[in-house]
């Protein structure tokens, strides 16, 4: 009697234990195959002298590629640009996204349409965005110069992408435009999860709009913001498609970032050893930033 009643129970609990693993296995296997394996391969290649057009010449060089990178002027230029790139793009996107989300959270006619339209930059492919902005910035026909000239803000058309002083900033503006809807949508979702009663209670207590924002809204969306910033940080740091299409890293090295430099070294110069070393160095640097960020924000949020 006891046997009969225990077996299905036992089976059920065993099933419960195995089921998560069974369901996760395909995803883990795929991730291992398409993410971890290439990562290991990259690390392995970075320790070799491997130029793709000499496929038989795969010589172990230890850390030579890393030493060469640290002594390479272009590596440091690219690193500087990567830091500028991340430190300006993400806060700009966050700020713009926050303002947009707060606006979209207000009641106004056609709000659903506005919410749908705001997502357009995020939904467009990077290459389309890059080409579109290349035309906007064009020094002969571009609308940016035309507009500024007519407003009397500039006297001569500026070659935004061909001038090393403005190239990186111009691309940062493009990327800010592309990425802010992501923040807007995420923050909007966060805003909608804050109970209206908090605001009602606060206004009964006489809290100003600013204090309501500071003490209710911001804490309410901080978790969402943290996740969004983390995701965006990794995406922005790694993204070079827009730069590649808009300037190819030029003029000179004026818009080189580390992922772009690694890509050019590996894909155009076919120097996979050196390109991999730069990629590995960049991954390590990014990991430090991410861990630091998680520790700091983790504390702040809790």
């Amino acid at each position: 009697m006891t046997d009969v009643s225990e077996t299905p129970k036992h089976r059920a609990s065993l099933g419960r234990q195995v089921l998560p693993y069974a369901m996760l296995t395909p995803a883990v296997l795929v991730t291992l195959a398409i993410v971890f394996l290439p990562m290991l391969q990259t690390a392995w290649m970075s320790l070799h002298d491997y130029v793709l057009f000499r496929p038989d010449d795969f010589t172990w060089v230890g850390l030579d590629n890393f030493k060469a990178a640290l002594g390479d002027e272009v590596f440091w230029i690219s690193l500087k640009h990567t830091i500028i790139w991340m430190c300006t793009t993400i806060p700009a996107q966050l700020l713009l996204g926050l303002v947009t989300a707060l606006l979209l959270n207000q009641e106004f006619p056609w709000r659903p349409v506005a919410r749908a339209l705001i997502i357009i930059p995020w939904a467009l492919p990077s290459v389309v965005i890059a080409l579109m902005w290349v035309w906007i910035y064009d020094s002969n026909y571009g609308i940016a110069n035309e507009f500024l000239l007519r407003m009397g803000l500039i006297q001569q058309a500026i070659p935004w992408l061909a001038d090393p002083d403005t190239a990186l900033a111009s691309i940062i503006l493009t990327l800010t435009w592309q990425g802010f809807p992501f923040f807007a949508v995420m923050i909007l979702a966060g805003l909608q999860s804050i109970p209206q009663s908090y605001y009602e209670a606060a206004s009964i207590d006489g809290a100003s709009a600013w204090r309501q924002f500071w003490h209710i809204t911001l804490p309410g969306i901080s978790g969402v913001m943290m996740t969004a910033v983390l995701l965006r940080m990794i995406w922005v740091a790694n993204s070079f498609d827009v730069i590649f299409v808009m300037t190819g890293g030029g003029p000179g090295y004026a818009s080189h970032t580390l992922p772009l430099y690694a890509f050019i070294k590996a894909r155009t110069n076919l120097d996979f050893g050196y390109g991999s070393a730069i990629a590995v160095l960049f991954t390590l640097l990014l990991m430090v930033v991410v861990v630091f960020y998680l520790k700091r924000t983790g504390k702040a949020v809790s």
Binding site: P55, P251, I264
Partner: protein
């Protein structure tokens, strides 16, 4: 037993049928700027003549053509045949990616019909033949005849004259205080090395492999830098300008001169009519240098059916077909018979090409050439133009690359 026999016969029949249909497929990669290219017509004509061969022709964007080709070769997914330029040959040979065509070439009766010397010019670095020429061009100077006439200028024949002419042509035509016509459309992005080379490599004793850091060599790069920084005769966007930009600006009347080949002649005539003409590039530093723009086809060593791939590429370099091919690219046919009846381009552009042939040269047959074209030249030229480095530093970097 009966069943077994029947099955055997059926299998044999099926196998025979399979063999009869054992078509070869030739995967062919090419790059055409022209969107409405007649490759489909060429493929159809070839397949009609060779019903057992199917050609899958794929147009790969020029900007990433070689990146994709090298990656495909290494990844084991290379096409069976491809359009290729000379600068890529040393690297492709080093990769073992090309199939030698000497034996086939010896038997092919179309070889004698090709323009003289082209086979020799395209020989591989190891003395074997891998490339079969399919079209050629020579770079020359395009200029706006109406603007020259208006200002009473004549076509510059030396760099000094070129500088003065370019300065005169750079002007504000509508009186709004903005320069709206620039003397010369300089290509500062990838592919612009031919412009720079015409101003630099003409000097005696200066080539990409020697004399580049000599006084004469540096003077050439300095000349280009001065044209941009001091004289302002290039549009401000010159450091980033590529093919589309220089051709677009010339057609739109934003520039009065530029350097390119006959491939853009018809487009220019369509936009500007008689207001555009061509002449050889000016003599700089005592000599002239212009680029011989080659294009060949090759059979890849990994081709599944090399014979079929060879058949296809010889088809493209045969009388009649070569005309059709060049009608798409707007370049010049390599087949003598096709050249004789050539009417696709106005005579003045063909003449400028022929006049430029005596001093046209190719880039060094070295595996460094690909890096020179793709990264070293554009990056350093842009740095010189934007004042980031001195011309001598740029020349030293190029010399270093070829010395490695």
């Amino acid at each position: 037993m009966k069943f077994k026999t029947l099955t055997g016969i059926a299998s044999t029949l099926a196998l025979c049928a399979g063999m009869a249909n054992a078509d070869s497929t030739v995967r062919f990669w090419y790059h055409f700027d022209n969107a409405d290219n007649p490759m489909d017509a060429l493929v159809a004509a070839f397949e009609e003549a060779n019903p057992d061969i199917t050609v899958e022709a794929e147009n790969i964007p020029w900007n990433s053509y070689y990146d994709q080709l090298y990656t495909a070769v290494i990844g084991g997914n290379a096409p069976d045949a491809a359009m290729v330029k000379m600068f890529a040959q040393p690297r492709l040979v080093e990769m073992g990616a090309l199939a030698p065509i000497d034996d086939w070439l010896a038997e092919w009766d179309g070889a004698d019909g090709l323009q003289d010397n082209l086979i020799k010019l395209t020989r591989g670095p190891d003395g074997q033949q891998y490339y079969l020429p399919v079209q050629y061009v020579v770079l020359y100077l395009y200029y706006r005849t109406d603007m020259f006439e208006e200002l009473g200028l004549s076509v510059p024949t030396t760099c000094e004259e070129f500088r003065e002419t370019a300065k005169a042509l750079t002007r504000d035509t509508d009186g709004d205080g903005q320069t709206d016509v620039y003397g010369f459309g300089f290509r500062g992005a990838k592919g612009g090395h031919d412009h720079w080379a015409s101003f630099t490599l003409g000097a005696e004793g200066v080539s990409l492999t020697e004399g580049l850091t000599s006084e004469a060599g540096v003077a050439g790069t300095q000349f280009v830098a001065d044209l941009f920084q001091e004289d302002g005769v290039f549009p401000p966007s010159a450091p980033n300008d590529g093919f589309q930009e220089i051709i677009g600006a010339f057609k739109a009347g934003k520039t009065a001169m530029t350097i390119h080949h006959i491939g853009s002649a018809n487009g220019m005539v369509e936009a500007l009519g008689d207001k555009v003409s061509a002449a050889p590039v000016p003599e700089c530093g005592g000599g002239r240098w212009t680029a011989f723009g080659d294009e060949s086809t090759a059979v890849l060593s990994s081709a599944e059916d090399p014979e079929a791939a060879w058949k296809w590429i010889t088809f493209l370099s045969s009388e009649g077909n070569n005309t059709m091919f060049n009608e798409a690219t707007g370049q010049l046919p390599v087949v003598k018979a096709d050249s004789e009846g050539w009417t696709l381009h106005p005579q003045r552009f063909v003449q400028a090409t022929v006049d430029s042939l005596p001093f046209a040269e190719m880039l060094p047959n070295s595996s460094a050439t690909a890096d020179f074209v793709n990264t070293v030249w554009p990056t350093n030229m842009q740095r010189v133009l934007t004042g980031d480095i001195e011309p001598a530093e740029m020349n030293a970097k190029i010399e270093e690359l070829f010395a490695e």
